[in-house]
């Protein structure tokens, strides 16, 4: 059973502001039935352009309902400029915290608010450049990046807890790792276990370690998605691999896949490993 705070339980058992505002000024819809949670937020402004009424309808677990209820309480009385600044942390904080695995519920609240404000302003669904990274849950690179920055996320698991991205078939894991790396750069990522200083591998040991790491850490998750990887050769610190039949549903770019393999090998074999791809 999840450890919910009393505040979460209260807002789940006695949700505030359930329903749809009539003749709403703004409507925001996020999530989906397929993904297991969805939220429709509606609000109305008063003559001073402050949010007079905000209501929600939510499909989802207890924390999704509680987060929606909290959101409507938080934004009531705010101007849109103020409401825009509400973060998912504010929602979680209002509820006295959420289990980390449930943080995506608070992110969904913030997204619904944003969508509703955009809807009021008549902004077209922001046509900025984005790419759907996680097809299982329809999560874009922009959403992932934002969650990473706003919540200081450093691991792939955290990204999944906060956005759901990567919680399904796992095919997008390399892409999520790549976004994490892009945001923090290599230095800021939590220090990977560096091989003890002074450890000098013989060639034979290195080959064995590379093979072991591929078999244990890298190939099984790829196989689970219909992909595969073959070790072609090792020359000094350069590891040559060939990619085979990647998951047809989630076309991960070979670039990020290569990066993923490289970062794993650097973690377990040595920091100087370079991965090169051999075309069949």
């Amino acid at each position: 059973m999840w450890e919910y705070t009393d505040k979460v339980k209260d807002h789940f058992l006695n949700p505030r502001n359930v329903g749809e505002v009539e003749n709403a000024d703004g409507v925001g819809e996020v999530g989906s039935l397929a993904c297991g949670d969805a939220l429709r937020l509606t609000f109305k402004l008063d003559e001073n352009k402050r949010i007079k009424e905000a209501k929600f309808k939510t499909f989802g677990c207890a924390s999704a309902i509680a987060s929606s209820s909290a959101l409507t309480e938080i934004v009531k009385g705010m101007t849109l400029e103020e409401a825009e600044k509400v973060t998912n942390q504010d929602i979680a904080g209002y509820l006295g915290g959420l289990p980390e695995e449930k943080m995506h519920c608070s992110v969904m609240g913030r997204e619904a608010l944003e969508a509703a404000i955009a809807n009021y302003r008549g902004e077209e669904q922001k046509k900025q450049e984005f790419e759907i990274v996680c097809k299982c849950f329809g999560i874009t690179d922009k959403e992932i990046e934002r969650a990473i920055r706003e919540n200081n996320l450093t691991t792939r698991e955290q990204v999944t807890h906060y956005t759901k991205a990567g919680g399904g078939c796992q095919a997008c894991h390399p892409k999520i790792e790549a976004i994490l790396e892009k945001v923090w750069g290599r230095e800021k990522k939590p220090a990977a276990p560096v091989p003890p200083p002074g450890r000098k591998l013989t060639n034979l040991q290195k080959i064995r370690l590379v093979e072991e790491t591929l078999q244990r850490e890298i190939i099984p998750p790829m196989r689970a998605d219909g992909g595969d990887l073959e070790l072609v050769d090792i020359d000094g610190n350069t590891v040559y691999v060939a990619l085979r039949g990647t998951c047809s549903f989630c076309p991960s770019s070979e670039f990020t896949l290569k990066k993923y393999v490289e970062s794993k090998l650097r973690e377990f074999v040595g920091p100087d490993i370079v991965v090169k791809e051999v075309k069949p």
């Binding site: 999840w2 789940f12 058992l13 949700p15 359930v18 819809e29 996020v30 999530g31 989906s32 039935l33 397929a34 993904c35 297991g36 949670d37 969805a38 939220l39 429709r40 309808k57 939510t58 499909f59 989802g60 677990c61 207890a62 999704a64 309902i65 759907i132 097809k135 299982c136 849950f137 329809g138 999560i139 874009t140 999944t160 759901k164 919680g167 399904g168 078939c169 078999q215 244990r216 190939i219 099984p220 196989r223 689970a224 998605d225 549903f249």
Partner: protein, 407 residues
Amino acid sequence: MRTVYLDNNATTRVAPEVVEAMLPYFSELYGNPSSMHFFGGQVARKIAEARERVAALLNADPSEIVFTSCGTESDNAAIRGTLESYPEKNHVITTRVEHPAVLNVGQYLRARGYRVTELGVDRMGRLDLDELRDAIDEQTALVTILYANNETGVIFPIEEIGEIVKARGIPFHTDAVQAVGKIPLDMAKSHIDLMSLSGHKLHAPKGIGVLYIRKGTKFSPFFIGGHQEGGRRGGTENVPSIIGLGKAAELAIEHMDEENGRVRALRDRLEKELLDRIPNTLVNGDRDNRLPNTCSLSFEYVEGESILLLMSDQGICASSGSACTSGSLEPSHVLRAMGVPFTAAHGSIRFSLSIYNTDEDIDWVIEKLPAIVERLRDISPFWKDYKEGKPISSLMAGIHPEHTRHR
């Protein structure tokens, strides 16, 4: 508050008779059954008796009963112990709806170079036996197929499967954790070579299991140690629990008719009433081939964890295959393998009964649950849309629904 416990496929109450039978073995009768003296010897005799009782429940020979620590150990021992006996073979056949104790062993084997075929199921959770026939080849070392599904209660045609497998001379294991004690089993007339069961699913305590190994079956022990369990599982016996399981097996034989009569009738009434009272409710799984105690329902447009928590507020204990409760972000692998539509998969609830349930228990659920579902549907953005005939696609943005089920 009233407690209505309908989660017996998760675990059961230890029968009071079982507790009573166990107690002396914590205190006065603490001898080690392997000891030479009379003090240990009397315990050894009681363990032999418990073994006979478990054998009687399965109509097996006592020498075919190996006590283990749980169902998961039995599954691991059966699969890995068999593969070790056939090192020249590299193929295993199983299904997509196994318990994680088998499913994840499959993943583990795959990572070590084994080919693992997972047979699919249809919308009712049934296997296609032709798919099994086609999957068997020269390299197949083991077929391991669930007896009865823990989520839906669907019973596989295990003897038919066993016949197919044995005709090709291949060892056959079944995880019967949910079946033992609920439906009659007869090993004397069976094709099963190895079978796992777990004590706490049949009113014995947690931490005790059995691996049935038919005489003449190749098996390499998984736990290597002393000569206990005929050398097939080292480690000092969990004496009180073994005694408890023996008692539970005896009670299971006594209660078999009640399980398939009164308990089945309670389950059927619960199911029928809920279907009548709550619109847009579906039954998951083949209703004609089901455990007598299990019922999996899906309430469309609401989410399972919310239902569970509101039920829990009324003292009702059940479980759900929804994403939020499966510990992942996707609905249970069983419902996904069955292709339960996503409108329903997230709102699945499993009720599993036992002989301790009463008519009043069922009345309570029938009284409370309709209001709970209605309340959540009022909060759900989909229900009104659905009622008004609007397409539900408005909240599908950015999603490739087919993708949520590609595994």
